[in-house]
């Protein structure tokens, strides 16, 4: 008997994952839909939060239309522990974490993959806009999606060979408009649903309100200094500030002031004028090279320091086995500790690392 390859598709009830499931059915995979029920705190019923009864209903109706089984898998505890608690404690340490990146690494491509293994699935599929290509020596390459506007390779840059070889990304060669058209062709109710924007667990009120509710209530005020080292004020805790931030620094300055850097060890906030903002180098650790091997350095790449940041040309130098120094030609203004730097060679993701500091003129 000829067994079809079995694939678990992560379904959210949104357009992308619904179309991903449909395409896999068209490609004659044996498709099983799963939705992770994540921890959503008190915003459980907000329309934008994930895994609401409404989105479960939408995913269910897509599954029925495609005649595939669909299961809701509880992942509240594991998500809370690996993503939410990390998010809260990182912020409290003055870092700016990227919970979606961490969720992909520790929940979707770990917990959900283990559920896929339990039912003997060969692959895990998602509705991300990125491509995975296997070369002739069976190395898997992670590439940007065809749709530059929607490209989500950044958020997948924490995946390893072991995970990429088990992953299918059916939307990688499609544009968002094509995806919507396919959804319309299938008469999916979700065809016109807007893309989700907020973090799935903080809801509409945003991450500041979330941190105010769930973070430690203890304020850790500290000193605000200017670039020259003079004390110019007091802050209410580094967690409330992001590098490049202009609002909320108090008034009475002659020229607009920006957060230049945060000294987490001294609990000090450094502010300055626009021209003082930015740095020509930053340092990253927790490096993940997609190929599994570090390329020989120095080498030039395009680096993205946030999901929606424009890539800039950089050179990568080894500091030690666990850390890299990234040097850019023009100052970057908002490299922020905790955020993810992703290195590209043209359209291919070479690797990623977590920004640990921003030093160097």
């Amino acid at each position: 008997m000829n067994h079809k390859a079995k694939v678990v598709v992560a379904m959210s009830g949104g357009v992308d994952s619904s179309v991903a499931a449909a395409l896999l059915v068209e490609q004659e995979y044996d498709v099983v839909g799963m939705m992770l029920k994540l921890w959503t705190g008190e915003c459980e019923l907000e329309a934008n939060a994930c895994c609401t009864p409404e989105s479960i209903g939408e995913a269910r109706s897509v599954a029925v239309a495609l005649n595939i089984p669909f299961y809701v898998i509880d992942a509240k505890d594991i998500f809370k522990q690996h993503v939410v608690d990390q998010f809260i404690s990182s912020y409290q340490r003055g870092l700016t974490p990227n919970p979606c990146f961490i969720c992909n690494q520790t929940v979707k491509w770990e917990y959900l993959l283990s559920k896929a293994n339990q039912i003997g699935a060969d692959y895990l599929a998602t509705g991300h806009y990125a491509q995975i290509i296997e070369d002739e020596v069976h190395v898997y390459h992670l590439l940007k999606g065809i749709d530059e506007q929607k490209d989500q390779s950044y958020i997948l840059a924490g995946l390893t060979q072991k995970k990429l070889c088990r992953t299918l990304l059916p939307l990688g060669k499609l544009k968002k408009n094509d995806v919507r058209e396919i959804a319309v062709r299938y008469c999916f109710n979700v065809a016109r649903k807007p893309d989700s924007q907020d973090l799935c667990f903080t809801g509409k009120s945003g991450y500041r309100a979330f941190l105010a509710t769930y973070g430690s209530q203890e304020k850790s005020p500290g000193v605000i200094r200017n670039v020259a080292g003079e004390t110019v004020g007091e802050h209410q805790g580094l967690a409330s500030y992001t590098i490049g931030q202009r609002k909320g620094l108090g008034s009475g300055y002659k020229v607009p002031q920006y957060v230049i850097s945060k000294n987490i060890d001294l609990n000090e906030l450094v502010i300055g004028t626009e021209d003082q903002l930015g740095s020509k180098s930053f340092q990253v650790s927790q490096i993940n090279w997609i190929s599994g091997f570090a390329p020989t350095h120095p080498k030039e790449y395009w680096v993205k320091i946030r999901y929606k940041a424009n890539p800039v040309l950089c050179s990568v130098e080894d500091i030690n086995a666990d850390a890299l120094n990234i040097v850019v030609e023009n100052k970057i203004r908002d490299a922020t500790p905790g955020q993810i730097a992703v290195f590209y060679d043209d359209n291919e993701v070479i690797g990623s690392g977590v920004i640990i500091s921003t030093e160097g003129e």
Binding site: V32, Y71, V72, I73, D74, K76, S114, K115, Q118, I119
Partner: protein, 388 residues
């Protein structure tokens, strides 16, 4: 793929004979039973006849039959309707329910505690889920507004000594309700030889339609209605009667009672084979609920080191429909209250599986299920110990 359904405690298909009984009441006899004219009279006649047929089927001439939307509504009406009425009349403020009730009873009682100020106590059960009678006798007093104990447990199949419990309540003159949703399909219930005051059931557990049920209520007892409006059901439950569904429920009840002895004998043989083989074949498996006093179609287990929901998914993909407990709790990751109440460790309680057989279940289906279960448990255990 040939799919095998082994979740008859969750729901059953409607018997063809039941559908035939229902059909005229969708179109020919469509009137509103509360209307005065010919059409209304026909419909009302049917409903009243249905009421008598239910009384006859259960020997319940001393009971009012209140038609509801199902077992859950009957439980709600009995508990809330009784508790509020009793407090109003007698000032009694305590509610006693067993620790292994269906959520229809538990959540209602918890709401009565939280929003109406009742004291709620969960009665102790033994390791098989049977009510601890001596603790119950020590707990019940005049200040109790209502006692509710499940007749036969949906998750673990254990049958309670309901007549004995009812008698204790009668001695103390405390109203006694039992949720008989699982029991009606399988156990002989003779309302003229017990002291039950209120008994709930829903039709879809015995090959009748979903969305219809009844509460039997001793005629001398008064309840505070929970759905108010018209004077249907003598004021106990407002809302136009669901005539076709009521007719279907009556027919289904009559059929299930007629065929019970034959079905039960057959189901018990299949059930015992299933239990014996699971305990023998699946390492780390343990029967939950009473080994003897259990529903004839009901087998339930916990399996060490296996998550019940994972097991369910894997079995479903292999073509076997079973449950991990109550269908009303799917997606809820916390271990079942019922399994904790019978003293299982939370980790072990997460590995629960319920297999319930029905009229058309065959020995072949049971055998196929047994080999699928062994395979699935094996592969889940292997994938857990393996590297990702």
């Amino acid at each position: 793929m040939d799919r095998i359904y082994l979740d008859y405690a969750a729901s059953t298909p409607i018997d063809k004979r039941v559908i035939d009984e229902m059909l005229p009441f969708f179109s020919t006899v469509f009137g509103n039973p509360s209307s005065m004219h010919y059409f209304g009279q026909k419909a009302e006649g049917a409903v009243e006849l249905a009421r008598q047929r239910i009384q006859n089927a259960l020997n319940a001439q001393d009971y009012d039959v209140i038609f509801t939307s199902g077992g859950t509504e009957s439980d709600n009406l009995a508990l809330r309707g009784m508790a509020l009425k009793e407090r109003n009349e007698r000032g009694s403020n305590r509610i006693l329910i067993s620790g292994v009730e269906h959520h229809a009873v538990l959540a209602t009682a918890e709401q009565l505690k939280k929003y109406y100020g009742f004291e709620l106590e969960l009665l102790r059960v033994d390791v098989n889920g049977k009510l601890d009678i001596s603790q119950f006798i020590n707990t019940i007093d005049n200040n109790v507004a209502v006692v509710s104990v499940i007749y036969a447990n949906n998750e673990i199949g254990t049958i309670n000594p309901i007549n004995e419990i009812a008698m204790i309540c009668r001695d103390k003159e405390i109203p006694f309700h039992t949720d008989a949703v699982q029991a009606v399909a399988h156990l002989e219930i003779n309302m003229s030889s017990n002291e039950i005051d209120l008994l709930s059931f829903g039709a879809h557990k015995f090959y009748g339609p979903k969305g219809v049920g009844a509460l039997l209520k001793k005629k001398d007892i008064e309840l505070l209605p929970q759905i108010t409006g018209g004077m249907q059901e003598r004021g106990s439950r407002a809302g136009t009667h669901n005539v076709p569904y009521i007719m279907g429920m009556v027919k289904a009840l009559e059929l299930v009672i007629d065929e019970r002895e034959f079905d039960s004998t057959r189901l018990k043989i299949l059930r015992d084979k299933l239990i014996e083989e699971v305990l023998k074949k699946i390492q780390g498996s343990k029967l939950t609920g009473d080994p003897v006093d259990r529903l004839p179609n009901h087998a339930s287990f916990v399996i060490d080191g296996v998550n019940g929901n994972d097991l369910l998914i894997a079995l479903d993909i292999a073509g076997f429909a079973v449950s991990s407990g109550s269908a009303c709790k799917v997606g809820n990751p916390t271990p079942s209250d019922v399994l904790l109440a019978i003293g299982l460790e939370p980790a072990l309680a997460m590995g629960s599986i319920r297999v319930t057989l029905g009229k058309t279940t065959t020995i072949n289906e049971v055998n196929n299920f047994l080999s699928a279960l062994a395979q699935v448990v094996d592969s889940i255990r292997k994938s857990k110990s393996g590297v990702l």
